[in-house]
Symmetry: C2
Subunit: 209 residues, 2 copies
């Protein structure tokens, strides 16, 4: 790959970690540039104008200088990196099924499991707004439902889309393996725990921190 | 395509409409089976066991009988249908950028714009729980931010990923064109309004109802 790859990230973010893990499993060199989202560093005029008008990380930068292109959304950035690799199923149904789990992750899993981790570990429960506090119980229930669903799926599958790791596993691993930091115990999800160990044993695996 | 395609849907759902619109623009025959989500018809044991353990529509069914395969998640179902067509950019960056907008839609747009439409038009404000009521203002702000962001992007682009329609447009059109039903006026978003007219003028376009 001729073009340099730079990840604009906050190292504490599981969404950013997905991209680092994808690059690591594929052996792709990836530069990083760190921002502190707690200090609003992704909401500056310069960031909004050049990197991401949505004010969020991660963003994958492809190339340098005036011709650089920017790709927000963690799962889209993983998709770019994994193009043509074994991390995306080669058949039509498998490719769509891999995306199915990645959309599930962003809609049903991340807003519950990752948000509670962010609130409880990084913001602190005492600092939450009343609107956020009212969301703790619904997000707890939504997160448990998502974990239960993936546990049932993993009871019959080594990885999400069959026998080998794909981006679906990477997307769901990022926040599942640190779900405890959001108060989600994995004791009731033995198949999730076994799958976490399988992902951690992959050649090239890198840990989050 | 040899295998029959059946959409398990609630016709009022914009997520289901995305799949019907994709099939229409591609000229693909698509059978439908309707469920009433207000009556819990996607939470029955039979539905959970066979169609989608997540208890949600849409689900795209590919094939019939014992060999049928099921694909939940609206954007993944669209991806399956559009495989190899002009609705998915052919280049590596374009394909990932198309997914970038589809993930944005599911994370930043749908949970705000579509949820308020569902609550206000179908559930009724008087029937909302206190937790839901506390979410109206944050979802209003989140939805306006999403609409503002796409308006700014469309100021410089005829469609989301360049000169022609892709799945990014279909994903974002579904709930944007009925945002008014959730109390979102499009008066401040002239580029969104012009883009809606461009989508509605596409050959093969079908309306939601």
């Amino acid at each position: 790959m001729a073009e340099t790859l730079t990840l604009h990230e906050d190292p504490r973010s599981g969404n950013c970690y997905k991209i680092r893990l994808t690059a690591a499993l594929l052996g792709l060199p990836l530069a990083t540039r760190a921002y502190d989202i707690m200090q609003g560093e992704t909401r500056t005029p310069a960031f909004l104008a050049r990197v991401n008008a949505n004010g969020r990380i991660p963003v994958l930068q492809i190339g340098d200088g005036a011709g650089a292109r920017f790709l927000p959304e963690s799962n889209a950035a993983c998709w770019y990196l994994a193009h043509g690799s074994h991390l995306i199923p080669a058949d039509r149904f498998g490719e769509a099924d891999c995306l199915r789990w990645m959309f599930f992750e962003q809609y049903n899993h991340e807003p519950n499991v990752a948000t509670l981790r962010f609130w409880l570990r990084f913001v602190g429960e005492a600092n939450l707004s009343p609107e956020q506090r009212a969301q703790i119980m619904p997000k707890r229930a939504g997160g448990e439902a998502a974990l239960r669903l993936i546990d049932e799926h993993l009871a019959a599958h080594a990885f999400f889309c069959g026998a080998g790791v794909t981006l679906a596993d990477i997307a769901l691993f990022a926040y599942t393996h640190v779900a405890g930091e959001g108060g989600f115990g994995l004791g009731d999800y033995p198949h999730v725990r076994a799958w976490i160990a399988r992902v951690q044993a992959l050649p090239g695996f890198v840990a989050m921190d």
